[in-house]
C-alpha cells in the first residue's frame, strides 16, 4: 500500500496518545503502533497510564486508560510532553486528556460515543464537539462504531463483541496517517487470535477498514512520515522496565551461576516482575508468592542463606513491611536484592502513579546504623544491566542492595539494543568450602579486600554455623555485647559499604566547556533531564549533565564534580531528597527542581528551570 497524492509531510518526531475507556483496548492499540514503529526503525518511548487501581464504570473519567508514544527519527529520551495527536474514543477520554494536547494538535474522535449519557458521565454539560471547546484544534470526526460494525460484519463476530474491534479501526487509521506498515500488526493479530478465527478476522478487517477510511475520506489533508532513526546498529526489542528487571534477575542468576529465588507479594506496580519470573521455571527460577511482604523478604533471606541468588520486590507500603527483615539480612551480611518500584505515596497514595520519594527511605528506613548500597534504574531498558550490577554488589560484598525503579520505568517501554550476552560479567562468588579456623568455622572472618564474610551454605560439611540478629563478635560471629566489638562491627559494616565506591565507575559528566551549571539527577528523570539539556544546548547555552546510578555509596569523584560548577540543579520527583544527601555529605549548595504530582517532569519544566538559572 502507498499513500495517495495528498500532502506527505516529514516530521522528525511525533507524540501520539491513544485514550479511551479501560474496555476500549487502548493499551493494545498503543503497543501495536509502537511495535510497528519500532520495526520500521523509529526510536521511541512510551508511557501507558492506567486507571487507578480499581475498575471504574465505563465512560467515566476515572475509567480512562491511555497510552502515549513518541516516535522519532533521532534518539529520543522521553515519551514526550505534549501529544501532537490525541485519539479520543469517548467524551471522558477527551476531557481528561485535552489539556495535555499541544496547541493546534490533532484530535481523532469517535463521534458516536459523544451521546448524552456519555457526555454526562464525563461531566460535560454540552457536547464539546459542537460547543466550541475544540476550536483551534484539528478535529477529525469518525463514526467509528458504525464503520467498525460494517467492516467486521462478515467476520463471524456478532452482538456487542463487534465493537471490540474498534481499537483496531483506530489503529488502522493512525497507520495510514503516519504511513506505518500494516503487516506487523496483521501478523500479531494472527499470532494472538489465531485460535479464534472470527476474532482474528474481525480485528484484521477493522484494521484495514481504518486504514482505508483514511485513504478514502477527505477528512485528512496531509499524512505524515517519521523516518527511521539512526540508532546504533544491533538487534532491538521493545521492553518495559519491569520485564527488563525480571530478565536482569534471570541473567544475574546465570552470571552468578546460582539458582534465582524471588519472594514477593503482589503490589502495584511491582507485580509484573513476579508474573514475568513465574513464567520462566525452565531457568530454574523459583518464585514464591508469599502471604505478605514480611514473609516475602523472610523467604528470600532463607533462600540467600541456602545459597540462592535471592531477591524480593515490592513498592512503598510493602518495602516498609520488609524493613525489619532487611535489617536482619544486613546484620547477617547475606546477599539480597531488594527491588522497590516506587509509586506515589505516602500510605496507599496513588498506586498507579510514579514518584521518587523513597530515596531517603532507602537510605534510612531501618532502625539502627544500617547503611546499604542503593542503586537506581534510569530507564526501562537500563533495568537489565542495573539489576545485574545490583546482584554483583550484593554477592561480592555479602549485603542487601536496594534497587530503585518507579512506576514510570516499570510500565514505560523503549527500544533496547540487545546486549552481547558474552560480555555480561562473571559475578559468581565461591561458596566457602573449607574451614577457615582451627575450631569451629568462623563466619565473620572477613576478606581483607572487600571485608565480606564467607558464604557457607547448608550442605557443606564442617562449616556448620549459626547466624542471627543479635550483635556478632568479629571473626567468630558469636553473640557479643562487648562495647568495643559493637563499635568495631558498626564501623566495619559501614566501611564495607563505603568501600564499594572504589569498585564502581566514577560519575560521568557530559559537560560543555564553559558550563557553570551542573544538572544532576537519578532514576527515571534521566530521559527528561537529557532531553532538556539537549534543548538548552540547542539554544547555545552551556551546561553539564550527570546522572547517578549509585546513590550509596556515591561515586568517588562526585564531590569534585559538584565543586566544579557554580550552580547545581537537582531535579527530582520528590521534595528534594538527593539534594539533602548531597548537602549533608559535601556541604555543597544545591537548587532543587521538585515536583510531587504523580507524573514525570515535562521536558520543558526542566528546560525552563535551567534557562532561568543560567540566566541568573
Amino acid at each position: 500500500m502507498h499513500s495517495d497524492e495528498r500532502l506527505r509531510e516529514t516530521l522528525d518526531k511525533v507524540v501520539i496518545r491513544f485514550a479511551g475507556d479501560s474496555g476500549d483496548g487502548m493499551q493494545v492499540a498503543g503497543n501495536r503502533f509502537t511495535d510497528a514503529s519500532a520495526s520500521f526503525g523509529n526510536d521511541l518511548a512510551t508511557l501507558p497510564s492506567f486507571p487507578a487501581e480499581i475498575r471504574a464504570p465505563a465512560g467515566t473519567l476515572p475509567g480512562v486508560s491511555s497510552f502515549q508514544v513518541q516516535i522519532a527519527d533521532f534518539d529520543i529520551l522521553t515519551p514526550g510532553d505534549e501529544p501532537d495527536v490525541l485519539v479520543a474514543m469517548n467524551p471522558a477520554a477527551l476531557k481528561s486528556n485535552l489539556h495535555d494536547l499541544r496547541r493546534a494538535g490533532t484530535i481523532i474522535v469517535n463521534t458516536e460515543a459523544f451521546e448524552e449519557r456519555n457526555l454526562h458521565k464525563a461531566g460535560y454539560d454540552s457536547n464539546p464537539l459542537t460547543d466550541g471547546t475544540l476550536d483551534g484544534y484539528n478535529v477529525i470526526e469518525v463514526p467509528m462504531e458504525t464503520l467498525t460494525k460494517e467492516a467486521v460484519k462478515d467476520s463471524g463476530v456478532s452482538g456487542r463483541d463487534v465493537l471490540r474491534s474498534k481499537n483496531f479501526f483506530a489503529l488502522g487509521l493512525l497507520a495510514w496517517l503516519f504511513n506505518r506498515p500494516l503487516e506487523p500488526t496483521l501478523q500479531w493479530i494472527t499470532k494472538k487470535f489465531g485460535k479464534r478465527p472470527e476474532v482474528e478476522a474481525a480485528n484484521s478487517l477493522a484494521l484495514r477498514a481504518g486504514y482505508n477510511f483514511g485513504f478514502t475520506t477527505e477528512a485528512m489533508k496531509t499524512t505524515y512520515e517519521v523516518k527511521p532513526a539512526h540508532l546504533a546498529p544491533g538487534t532491538y526489542t521493545n521492553i518495559t522496565g519491569n520485564t527488563a528487571l525480571a530478565w536482569g534477575l534471570i541473567a544475574a542468576g546465570q552470571c552468578a551461576k546460582l539458582p534465582l529465588f524471588y519472594g514477593s507479594y503482589p503490589i502495584t506496580p511491582a507485580s509484573d516482575i513476579l508474573h514475568e519470573l513465574s513464567r520462566h521455571k525452565n531457568f530454574g527460577v523459583r518464585t514464591f508468592q508469599a502471604e505478605d511482604e514480611i514473609a516475602a523478604v523472610g523467604s528470600a533471606i532463607g533462600a540467600a542463606f541456602a545459597g540462592n541468588l535471592a531477591a524480593t520486590g515490592s513498592s512503598g507500603p510493602g518495602i516498609a513491611l520488609k524493613s525489619e527483615g532487611i535489617s536482619l539480612a544486613f546484620m547477617m551480611e547475606l546477599p539480597l536484592i531488594v527491588v522497590n518500584v516506587q509509586r506515589a505515596g505516602p500510605s496507599t497514595g496513588m498506586p498507579t502513579k510514579p514518584e521518587q520519594a523513597d530515596l531517603l527511605f532507602s537510605m534510612y528506613g531501618r532502625h539502627g546504623e544500617s547503611p546499604l548500597p542503593v542503586l537506581a534504574i534510569s530507564s526501562p531498558s537500563d533495568a537489565f544491566l542495573a539489576t545485574v550490577e545490583a546482584a554483583r554488589i550484593a554477592l561480592k560484598y555479602m549485603t542487601p542492595v536496594i534497587l530503585l525503579s518507579d512506576n514510570h520505568i516499570a510500565n514505560g517501554s523503549e527500544p533496547w539494543r540487545l546486549p552481547d550476552l558474552n560480555q555480561l560479567p562473571d559475578i559468581s562468588v565461591p561458596f566457602a568450602a573449607a574451614n577457615n579456623g582451627n575450631g569451629p568455622f568462623l563466619p565473620y572472618y572477613r576478606d581483607p579486600d572487600t571485608f565480606s564474610r564467607p558464604w557457607a551454605i547448608p550442605g557443606t560439611p564442617g562449616l556448620e554455623h549459626r547466624l542471627g540478629g543479635l550483635e556478632k563478635e568479629e571473626v567468630t560471629g558469636n553473640v557479643s555485647y562487648d562495647e568495643d566489638n559493637h563499635q568495631l562491627m558498626t564501623d566495619t559494616r559501614a566501611w564495607k559499604v563505603q568501600n564499594i565506591a572504589n569498585d564502581i565507575p566514577p560519575l560521568e559528566v557530559e559537560a560543555d566547556e564553559d558550563a557553570e551549571l551542573l544538572v544532576i539527577g537519578w532514576g527515571s528523570t534521566y530521559g527528561s533531564v537529557r532531553a532538556a539539556a539537549r534543548r538548552v544546548r540547542r539554544r547555545g547555552l552551556p551546561l553539564a549533565v550527570a546522572h547517578l546510578r549509585y546513590l550509596n555509596p556515591f561515586p568517588i569523584n562526585l564531590e569534585q564534580v559538584l565543586r566544579s560548577y557554580r550552580q547545581v540543579l537537582v531535579p527530582e520527583l520528590n521534595t528534594g531528597q538527593l539534594s539533602r544527601l548531597i548537602r549533608a555529605e559535601y556541604l555543597v549548595a544545591t537548587t532543587g527542581l521538585n515536583k510531587v504530582a504523580g507524573v514525570p517532569f515535562r521536558v520543558s519544566e526542566i528546560e525552563d528551570k535551567i534557562v532561568e538559572m543560567i540566566g541568573s
Binding site: F261, E291, G307
Partner: protein, 335 residues
C-alpha cells in the same frame, strides 16, 4: 547415608543460657540425642528460630542455624526448604513467637505444607521479655501487663493448626523425653509441614503451668497418649476412655461404655474433624489432654510441587536460554 553421631556432636561451644530448671534444657537434650540417633548428616540440618528464650535454641545445635527475628522463622524456613529439598529444616519457636507475632506465617506454612518441622515450645508466657501473658495464657492470668488478669481468650494451638490445614499435628511435653523423641521422629518422617506443640515449663515466670500433666499425682490421670489404630484409653489403670458423643470427644469411665464405643484413634484420616474434636478435650491444658500424633495425613508438599513444576518446565521447554529469552518479545535489526 546414616552416620554415627553422639549427642556431643550436636552440641556447640556456646554456653547454654537458660534459667536453671527451664524446660528448654530438657527439650534441647531430647533434640540433640534424637539427631545423633537419626544419623542425618549434620550439615544437611538447619534450625531456624525467631526471638524468645526458646529461640536461642539454634545457638546450641551444631548444625546450620539462624536465630532470626520475632515471629518470622516459618517464612525464612520456607525459603530454605522451597529452594533446598535436600535439607532437613526445623523451626524452633515459642507461643509468643509462633502464635502472636508469627501467627500468619505459621498458618500459611501449614496450609502450604512446606517441608519444615515446627517445634512450638509452649510455656504459656513471654519468657524473654520477662513475663507478659501470651496467646496461650489462660483468661484471668495476672502478669506484668495484665495486673487485673488477662482478658484474652487463648488459642488452642492444635485446633488452630488443624483449622489451618496442617497435615501433621502432634503434642508432647518437655519432661517426657521418650515421648518427645518419638514425636520428633514422627515429625521427621512426615513428608511436609509438621506442627508439634511441646508443653514447656518456664519455672521463672509461669511455673507449674503443666502440673496437671507432669505432677506425680496428676499426670497419669491426665495424659491421654494417642496411638494410631488403638482405642483411646488412659488413666493409671487405663480406666478412662474417650468416645465420640454426637461429634464431640468426651471422656468417660471405661466401665460405662461398651468397648466398641471407645474411639479408635485414626491419625491418618484425611478429614481432620475427629482430630479437631480430640483437640477440644482440653484447653490450656486442664484435665485430660491428648498427647501424641493427632494427625498425620500426608498430601502434596509445597516444595515437592515446586520442584515438580521446575522439572516439568524444563522437560517441556528445555533449559532456559537467556539469548532466546531476550528475543522472545520480537526484535528488529538496525544496521
Amino acid at each position: 547415608m546414616t552416620l554415627e553421631y553422639t549427642r556431643a556432636d550436636f552440641q556447640t561451644d556456646q554456653e547454654v543460657r537458660w534459667c536453671p530448671g527451664c524446660g528448654d534444657y530438657t527439650i534441647l537434650a531430647s533434640v540433640q540425642a534424637f539427631m545423633a540417633d537419626l544419623g542425618l548428616e549434620r550439615e544437611k540440618i538447619v534450625f531456624v528460630s525467631g526471638i524468645g528464650c526458646s529461640s536461642r535454641f539454634p545457638y546450641y545445635m551444631n548444625t546450620y542455624g539462624m536465630h532470626s527475628i520475632h515471629g518470622r522463622a516459618p517464612a525464612i524456613a520456607t525459603g530454605i526448604a522451597a529452594s533446598r529439598p535436600d535439607l532437613s529444616v526445623w523451626v524452633v519457636t515459642g507461643d509468643g513467637d509462633a502464635l502472636s507475632i508469627g501467627g500468619n506465617h505459621l498458618i500459611h506454612s501449614l496450609r502450604r505444607n512446606v517441608n519444615i518441622k515446627i517445634l512450638l515450645f509452649n510455656n504459656q508466657i513471654y519468657g524473654l521479655t520477662k513475663g507478659q501473658y501470651s496467646p496461650t495464657s489462660e483468661v484471668g492470668k495476672a502478669t506484668k501487663s495484665s495486673p487485673m488478669g488477662s482478658i484474652d481468650y487463648p488459642f488452642n494451638p492444635v485446633s488452630l493448626a488443624l483449622g489451618a490445614e496442617a497435615s501433621f499435628v502432634a503434642r508432647t511435653i518437655d519432661m517426657d523425653r521418650t515421648h518427645t523423641t518419638e514425636m520428633l521422629r514422627r515429625a521427621h518422617e512426615h513428608p511436609g509441614a509438621a506442627f508439634m506443640e511441646i508443653y514447656q515449663n518456664c519455672n521463672v515466670f509461669n511455673d507449674k503451668a503443666f502440673i496437671e500433666l507432669t505432677g506425680k499425682q496428676e499426670r497419669d490421670h491426665n495424659r491421654i497418649f494417642l496411638e494410631h489404630g488403638k482405642p483411646i484409653v488412659f488413666g493409671p489403670d487405663s480406666e478412662k476412655a474417650v468416645i465420640l458423643d454426637e461429634g464431640r470427644a468426651r471422656v468417660v469411665d471405661r466401665s460405662e461404655v461398651a468397648a466398641e464405643q471407645i474411639l479408635v484413634h485414626d491419625e491418618k484420616a484425611e478429614d481432620p474433624s475427629v482430630a479437631f474434636a480430640l483437640s477440644r478435650l482440653s484447653h490450656g491444658p486442664h484435665g485430660p489432654t491428648p498427647l501424641g500424633v493427632l494427625r498425620d495425613a500426608p498430601r502434596t508438599t509445597y516444595d515437592g510441587a515446586l520442584q515438580h513444576q521446575l522439572v516439568e518446565a524444563q522437560a517441556k521447554r528445555g533449559p532456559g536460554e537467556l539469548d532466546r529469552l531476550i528475543r522472545s518479545l520480537g526484535t528488529w535489526e538496525v544496521r
